[in-house]
């Protein structure tokens, strides 16, 4: 959802406003943040699956809006003047990703904000008793997770040079996020990364050598997901950690997997950036 907002911000400003790309990127992030704020206030009252479905409905509504409006080009989408220099975008993305990592790291590990987030995740009532306003912190995290996604959306729009409602507000990457999360283990930082490597490698190899059996891809992916969930409920990384810990003689304990909180949901709801190019 925020990805699409960023993408359309850049596309509309560049195409109709004649703005320079560099100027549109921060605005993409800004609008994503503003939207997250106004959306977050009401939706964060919803719990669990309702929150997921609420944001999902909203993303679909935005997609419909982009299909109908004239300013977005409707179903025809928008084409930007091509600037085909992958390394340019490479650095942009690296910058945003790196900056985000750094920011999150500082906020979550060093600033009091991280403590608040963890307090709410562990025990919302307890956190409230300590004077933490959970809604406020949730909205803050929601906005915080939306801004980088909006920035990436902006970059994506200019990189691919073509966006339409399907690609900007579609949900194909939701699936992949789930896959990564599960193969790699939820609630850990490294788990999803490992999942990403495996899925990416598998995809690349599959399309390179087995492209005649495209349908097989769905089946293999499905079987892989099903088997992982059945036999490695903690994901590959989580299982590894458990194994390591228990072999060190520590008490086996499942990797702490927090309930899906607001920021994680938002992350899974929107369209992510392209995964290979």
């Amino acid at each position: 959802m925020f990805f699409g907002v960023g993408a359309y911000t850049t596309a509309i400003l560049m195409k109709l406003g004649g703005w320079a790309f560099i100027l549109t990127v921060p605005l993409g992030g800004l609008f994503a943040g503003i939207l997250a704020f106004f959306v977050g206030l009401p939706t964060l009252r919803l719990k669990g699956s309702y929150f997921a479905i609420g944001t999902w409905a909203l993303a679909l509504a935005l997609q419909q809006l982009a299909l109908i409006l004239d300013i977005t080009g409707g179903p025809d989408g928008m084409r930007l003047p091509p600037y085909l220099n992958p390394s340019y975008f490479y650095y942009w993305m690296l910058g945003v990703v790196g900056g985000t990592f750094a920011l999150y790291w500082i906020l979550l590990e060093w600033a009091p904000f991280g403590l608040k987030v963890r307090a709410i995740r562990e025990d919302q009532d307890g956190a409230m008793a300590l004077g933490i306003n959970p809604t406020r912190v949730k909205v803050q995290s929601f906005v915080l997770s939306a801004v980088p996604v909006g920035l990436l959306g902006s970059i994506y729009a200019y990189w691919i040079t073509f966006i339409d409602p399907l690609s900007a507000f579609g949900d194909i990457l939701t699936d992949q996020a789930v896959v990564m999360a599960v193969v790699g283990g939820l609630g850990t930082l490294i788990g999803p990364a490992i999942g990403a490597v495996i899925v990416f490698t598998f995809k690349t190899l599959f399309w390179a050598y087995l492209s005649d059996y495209q349908v097989l891809y769905l089946i293999i992916l499905g079987v892989a997901i099903a088997l992982t969930v059945l036999f490695l409920p903690n994901g590959l990384w989580g299982t590894f950690i458990n194994y390591r810990d228990s072999s060190r003689g520590m008490r086996t304990q499942s990797v702490s997997r927090p309930r899906i909180d607001a920021s994680e949901h938002s992350d899974e709801q929107e369209k992510g950036a392209p995964e290979h190019g």
Binding site: L94, F101, L166
Partner: protein
Amino acid sequence: MKRMTWITLFLALSLVTAGAVGAEAPVFKIGVITSLSGGLATGGNVTKQGYEMWAKRVNDAGGIEINGKQYPVKLIYGDAQSEPSQAASAAERLAAQEKIDFALGPYSSGVTLAAAPVLEKYKIPMVTGSAESPLIWREKFKFTFGTIPPVNFTGSSALNVIATLDPPPKRAVVIGSNDAFSKATAETFRDTCEKLKIKVMKYDIVPSGQDLTPYMSAVRAMRPDVIAFGGHDEELIRLVKALRQIHYAPKALLMHYGVTEPAFIEALGKDAEQVYGASVWTPTLKTKGGLIWPDAQSYAADIKAAFGIVPDYTMAACSAAGLAFQAAVMQLGAAPPLDEAQKLALVDVLEKLDIHTFYGPIKFSHEGEFYHANTGLTPLAFRSRVARPLSSVRPTTRRHRRSTP
């Protein structure tokens, strides 16, 4: 956060994998970028079968003959997954890693619009056997060609036939599904109706996948003579069924795409009978071809033997796209792998190409709104199931064609 990890990894991995290309016996490496999965997989696989058929026949004959030597073709697929971003990624991979000589194009305009600039960048010519949306040709990509004329070139032909019915239809309702191709079709229908002095009582673009029965109930109350619908095959089937269920038959039901498709006729059985549509090719068409297939009938027989289905015009256009490449590269006389100068020269040859195939003439337009689309063809109007041309070119279409050299 996950997305960030994903991207960082992609960046790292793409650097690692970029180096791995091996040397093989000289073949024409042809990238096929099309949607093998996702929402457009049905159409995507039609294109795939069309390209495959061509490649198979070429390789059965030993390959494409260049200066007395034969070079086989190798198709390398890139799945666009019905997503523009995936199409761009696939194009990037095929161009940068697989070092393809040539590309055969996607199904659907969104995907084409995303893949084309990438191929421009790598200077790889592409002929697509699908993508009927006018949007593509308005962008004037130098390296992109198409064997099917855009829908604004072909779409009016069936309406022209309907206009000659007795008594002539006076009122029409035009509906389009909300995707690029269907919307363009509906726009063409609307404009042509106005030109033909058929009153458009209602014009709507509806979200795809809607149940149109309530809408049709309302339309029924207006009693139009013609219902014209721009949409993809499933939507057409649903619309026909909806009309059947509410027991309403307008004088003419007009659709652009799918009417000649075997799946459409099979799925609907008798219901499909009074549907009009336009097409550029059917297996019964009288054509004469030089390369591989002498006529439409032998092509249809080949497809039937290979896949057990009757080919539609998209499939034929895709095989014809292969033929266009084959003819051009033979004219050029360049053996694989093609270098950049040869690829540029190939574009020049394609621009001047004027050949006759089982599919009909292939001649790409040089300028105007049909830039690099095949305007050598004459659109035909069809009534479905009968699956034979009601009439060939109508006068207006001819004028239309002449106005765009």
